[in-house]
Symmetry: C3
Subunit: 146 residues, 3 copies
């Protein structure tokens, strides 16, 4: 079954590559602005890049969880498409935040909305699976297994 989740898997790999890119940007910013580890504070420019990566890291496991739940219980196509939009939004968030705190807001709202879509479709999909399994196996497309 999981082997057929190539769409979700491909989006997950892109998400990993994006996080790797953010990490490399922080390493570069540490060099450029002279903020060697373990320090985490420095000029505002550094601070913004540092926080853009930290914030994206916090959301990464939430995004991956919602992506797979929605893809498995609702629709792989919709989930993968939302996943790509989310990753695009996060890239814009990172670039915007690197420029100024204000420029992070538009992409933040966008990626949050896409994330809510993934959470909503996960919830709907899990609810339908629950009904199919426990309440009305005969009614909701469970003919094959009934």
């Amino acid at each position: 079954m999981l082997e057929e989740s190539v769409g979700l898997a491909a989006v997950t790999i892109l998400a990993i590559l994006e996080q790797a890119y953010f990490c490399l940007q922080v390493i570069q910013a540490r060099r450029k602005f002279g903020v060697p580890p373990p320090a985490t504070s420095g000029p505002a420019e550094f601070q913004r890049v540092f926080r853009a990566q930290a914030n994206s890291s916090e959301y990464f496991p939430i995004f991956i969880s919602a992506l797979w739940l929605s893809g498995i219980f609702f629709s792989q196509g919709l989930s993968s498409a939302c996943g790509l939009l989310y990753l695009g939004g996060r890239l814009a968030y990172f670039r915007g935040y690197s420029q100024s705190p204000e420029q992070r807001l538009g992409p933040l709202y966008f990626s949050s909305q896409v994330l809510w879509l993934l959470i909503g479709s996960s919830g709907l999909g899990v609810l339908l699976a629950f009904l199919r399994l426990y309440l009305a196996p005969g009614l909701l497309g469970g003919f094959g297994s009934a």
Copy 2:
């Protein structure tokens, strides 16, 4: 198979919603105490809300991993129940920590113990699966596939 993991999936969605709630609380605390991004330090009240969310974010992927391992290799019922207890403990941690550092301790111990239960049952389940697969397929309930 995964489609039958509705219990684990439902707990995962609740965990995502809880993290979203924590994030919204940080955003509100940023406004209330005047700590605009990228700043992360401010009055102690802000600091505690900020850290309560950051700490819960750190534990989120660990929790999700243990929840699913325990649910797939040991028991979905036990895992889902532990998952709900853990999320309740984390909510109490967040609320307690927001009040004072001391009030985070009770819920922290509670949620840690539940997490250890999930880790322990994961370990036991994986060990049994290993024995079943590689060492004694005939002895440990592998009759069907032998």
Copy 3:
């Protein structure tokens, strides 16, 4: 299917235990150097232990995602072996960083390279699965399902 992923599951449990160990080290460092929550700054010795755990936490969900993708789509044996190497590298990173920022570098490069190997094999595995499913089911070992 997932029940057969005992190698990946075992490595995941080890990864969870390692993170738990790092957390306990931070708690101990908080006591030793007198840095009670919600504070996150203190003497350089504390700062290094704190950041070593924080950095490993950031990478944890990325590592787990790459481990399972590579294990499911490419090879469980290779993935599990890389997983063990990665966890060894992270332990060395944590210990090195606790001593001095310089001593984190060797293990960091090592664990990054192992992570890239997992990401690369994930990418290759997903690409092959994609070809098998959509483009040339007859050519790439899809005889069984054709």
